[in-house]
């Protein structure tokens, strides 16, 4: 199996680290080698967060080169834009439609329509879903990450590396695992329909 370069991006506090760790645990259960370069410290305070997840036997370096990301999982649209330069020409994006306004006075943010047009114009395969909205309906906005993950497994190349069963096993020790699993299967079903 060839190497897979995944970026997990979003805003500090959205569960980016958990999402990338669960991908890693699941890959490990499948006997795959993983490197996850995490963001800790300062940027966790509501700043932009980017985690590099690399899966494959002959990977050595922790960071994904610009232009070589195969799959981006994003929990926020402005952050999707911010890291587009990592995407390769055949890259796939799965992004939440959520927009979080950076809490700085008088900041100007692009509109939803502008962002969507920009993403479409890249020519990349882009999947948009209302993960945070659905997660909120399920009872906890923080499980948006699992909706994104479930979706990516059923509708992108991530499904070749990890499957729902290995994710469910990896969730065993997580507090609130029932809700996480519910969100995961919800995302998975969205992806199948797609």
């Amino acid at each position: 199996m060839s190497n897979l370069n995944i970026l997990v991006v979003g805003v500090g506090g959205q569960g980016i680290l958990t999402l990338s760790r669960i991908i890693g645990e699941s890959a490990l259960r499948r006997g795959l080698k993983v490197l996850i370069a995490e963001t800790h410290g300062l940027s966790q305070r509501g700043g932009s967060v980017i985690v590099h997840v690399r899966i494959g036997d002959d990977i050595e370096a922790p960071l994904i080169p610009l232009g070589e990301c195969d799959l981006m999982l994003s929990l926020e649209l402005v952050e999707t834009l911010r890291y587009l330069n990592y995407m390769g020409n055949n890259g796939v994006i799965v992004s939440d439609t959520l927009i979080l306004r950076p809490p700085i006075p008088r900041v100007k943010i692009p509109s939803y329509e502008e962002i969507i047009t920009t993403l479409k114009n890249t020519g990349l395969e882009v999947h948009l879903l209302d993960a945070s909205l659905e997660a909120d309906r399920l009872g906890d906005i923080r499980v948006a990450n699992m909706i994104i993950l479930g979706y990516a497994i059923s509708s992108t190349l991530l499904g070749k590396y990890i499957d729902i069963d290995s994710v469910v096993e990896s969730l065993a020790h997580i507090p609130g695992k029932e809700l996480n699993i519910k969100a995961l299967s919800m995302g998975f079903k969205f992806g199948v329909k797609h």
Partner: protein
Amino acid sequence: MTYEEILAEPGSTVLMLGNAAIARACLEYGIGLASGYPGTPSSEIIEALAYASRKLGYPYVEWSINEKVAFENAYGAAISGVPSIVAMKHVGLNVAADPLFSSAYTGVESSLLIVSADDPAMWSSQNEQDNRWYGLHAYIPVFEPTGAQDARSVTLEALKFSSDYKHPVILRSVTRVSHTRTNITVGQLAKPKLYGEFKRDTSRWVLVPSNARRLREELIAKWDKITKDLSDNPLNTSEGPRDSRILVIGVGVGYRYSREALQRLKLLDTVRLLKITTSIPPPKSLIVRELEGKNIAIIVEEGDPVFEDQVKIIAYDERLDTKIYGKKTGYIPITGELKLEDITKALADILGLNYRVKSSVRVNIEIPPRPPVLCPGCPYRSVFYAIRRVIKKLKVNVVYAGDIGCYSLVVNPPFNAQDTLVEMGGSIGLANGLSHTLRDSIVIATIGDSTFYHAGIPGTINAVYNRAPMTILVLDNGVTAMTGHQPHPGTGLDALGREARRIKIEDIAKASGVDSVLIAKSFNIRDVESKAELAIREALNGKVSMLIARGSCILTAIAKSRRYKVKRPVYSIDLDKCRACTICYNAFACPAIIPRGDGKASIDPRICTGCSACVDVCPFEAIQSIEVVDETWRGILDEVGLDSE
């Protein structure tokens, strides 16, 4: 964060952070003591060991008051024959530099491993210093894991080396080693050595000049032997054809980037690749052996060109004319972290190959920045909101001598309340000099509680004794928040979660002779305003005053509310009362308060923490809670520190 994986079954393969792998190695070696002061990217080492110690009952683990004391703590244990480690971020070693140098003179009786986690690219730091220089400077060997992949095995070897040579060893990690998670296969835990004995020997442990002169001679001889022996250390390996004309030297994490870059360029079979793990002192005979017959040598390392310089010195001494490339020759950037695309390109360019960095997707749209900000409900928001109002009212010029912690984030608008920020403790320190030399401004030194204990006390005493008028604003949220809520001497818990006696900041201030010491509730804007005014008036009268703004970090307060099942209020805006004055979202700038299209405010109930501070901000009383606010919740907000679970 929990660290269950650190106690994984021997032989199993688990996903582990590089820092956890370092901690696991300490348990497999059988260390008896670990100490540290928090700092990104090092903190998880002590956290993981504390987790293990709670479960196993050993080793002894502590968060010390600062890096110097943490170092001396481990040094003392190693003198008594107990294998020990001390962990800190790169700049922490500056604080601990004094005992560091002495430790090489005296040596130790068992392992003394100094973990320095460097932060290239300065993700969470004020500088990009490369602590391998300390190894050269202080005559202490430096071992560098090449990634999270071998952080465990290299730590084990470093501990063993330190004990074999009775000499301290620096383990130099970097962000991408410490904070990378990967598959790690773990070994057996060893029986720890928890107790030692002190072998009295004044000729060795007492560095009076007569002893130190002799010990320096011995140190130089020992350094020669260490240099020789490291050339045969199995941690340094080579691959690829010996008779190649090209040598790539990958040092520490540089090895991973060089290996993958060579793989991408399909050069692994034609180029000789040397992996260096023990970079200081440079393993001389190994390098000479590998340089012989090479036309080109390329050195890939993260940080300063430390190893590159060493190789050049060796090549000069040995009259080798290999052309040496690295950071000083312009191919590899000297600043920031290594990047795979840069290293691939550099190797290709030096070797005259054609390689183009992949074109990346570019878009034509302005992307707003998203800097880190104070959390919704952070006690500092109301404190600085109040202080700014007092300054406006008193019409004084003020210089905010700032410091490092979450409160540094008020450097940004709308607060703009950090005029300097240089190092931990630098607020009160610089305020001394500013106070003596500025005639038309008052100086407010802002400092966090953990930072006050760490390095603020000498500056305070100095200001009192040498009469440097100022207001010291101590932001007491009960924890070391920025680095992950580690305890400090005011928290009430130790590293293992056991109750500890609190040492109160106000007691220290009073004992230091501070002219007036005031305490305000951080979430209560009126309280902060009135006390800040008193404190600043004192400074204007030539006194040293201290205002302790006390209020819980909202994250620990929320955790307590969950544990004690206390309901937090949710606030909302009464749109009939809101007049779109913009104060709450522009001047108070809570992330939960969001402007609507018509300029009125709205509160996102998913973000609002119920801290209640904003109620006093609205001049029109439009901010209200639907339910009556639980008094227990107010108590949790006003009280600082952690409770044992």
